[in-house]
Symmetry: D2
Subunit: 139 residues, 4 copies
């Protein structure tokens, strides 16, 4: 059922979002599940060395987006319609972030994914997010 | 670490929320986890026989509340400050709802819980929710 | 552009939601705007006399629902897909609640409304909410 | 009651967030209200020329943050704990974004702000957001 593997997802990302593709790496993908790494660099940091809120949002957003595409194939037109995030702990300084995404619904028109975000190697989550995407009709 | 077992939670609910306590039953409780059943009755239904949105909200809210109290003990003053819900599928007609709650953060001041809600016996979730509670200082 | 006036909305509510219709009263309706009153009764109260979270959720939900129907006509099938609420202040004891709703988007498929909820006569809002409804295709 | 004017807010932004300060301009500030402009540049754009979701999130986040600081003074430690966003329309290509922020609650511990985001010169909002900040105790 998974239509795009890690290589296909990386290829899509490089083509559709060339400015940011090198920041991300899909760690694993499966039926309604995807794990994505944010390779943390200076541009993701707030003063003090922790990852910024917008960088966390972007990671959650792209993780759900790719989890959807992995299931339905490369349709660049799916768009985020709603996002809800809780920022719960300060990210660990100098660590990559890992986003564990699960699709709870993959409908004809709407998809809903949940994400938990961790600092690499730290058990308690930094943030959680839920996102809704609108999937445009085909053709 | 769990300070209140199922019997203690039921006792608290009956005392603090006598009007609605009989609608709910704690199925299990553990470290940062709780499963709660809504014994669906006519007052929870919309025309057509599915459980109403407010009844789903109430179930998610009380599940996180009791999951917090199970960990910190009976403090009736914790209050919901934020709730985010996605309604994903129509509940099955005539079935109880089950809320599976996990606490992602239990801080000194704020607690965050996630909930997935299922029609009893149906694998795909009806709804998801995340709730934040403010915990008042002791004494 | 407003297709349903207060009388038509009250008629719809009484027919579609007979169990709860008598709890609500549309105070005003206009282009993408509606104000709704919750006639607070014992069944809406938590111990201590303040309106419960689920009753606030229900008020926000029905306010956006009727604001949409006022614009598109009586289509009972619109369903809530997402809700986000912030509970900011304790409702005043013994006061009705007023929900001021504004539709920010009324698309072909999705509608988004914002709501501020006040205790009648109190200037600071009790809660805010934003809700998304999915509007099924006609015919 | 407003403790920081536009110049003070710009000074704070330049000092606390030197990497991104030049992207933003406070257009107006008042009692619990602030309007902020995102000077849209290539780094905020998705392919196709519209502003990215993370850039919209960042704008809403900084608008509420500065609206809070304008009222309480420069306390760099306030942190976002929750954010909820609805993305409703595609931003106009090549236009700045304007964020109109209103604080609905400014408590001792938590503050809640609402934001509507517009493409400059376009009446229908691109997005809405609500954010909660945790305000650390003084001293």
């Amino acid at each position: 059922m998974v239509k795009m593997d890690i290589a296909a997802l990386h290829g899509f990302l490089a083509q559709a979002f060339p400015q940011v593709a090198q920041d991300y790496r899909v760690e694993s993908v499966g039926e309604n599940r995807l794990v994505m790494r944010l390779l943390v660099g200076d541009r993701h940091l707030r003063p003090g060395g922790t990852v910024s809120g917008p960088a966390i949002f972007a990671l959650a957003d792209v993780a759900v987006y790719l989890a959807i595409l992995a299931m339905i194939g490369p349709q660049a037109l799916a768009v985020t319609t709603n996002a809800s995030l809780d920022f719960m702990r300060k990210p660990a300084s100098g660590q990559d972030l890992l986003a564990q995404c699960e699709l709870l619904k993959l409908g004809r028109v709407l998809a809903v994914g949940e994400v938990r975000i961790f600092s690499d190697g730290v058990p308690d989550p930094v943030a959680r997010a839920s996102l809704t995407f609108s999937i445009p009709p085909k053709g």
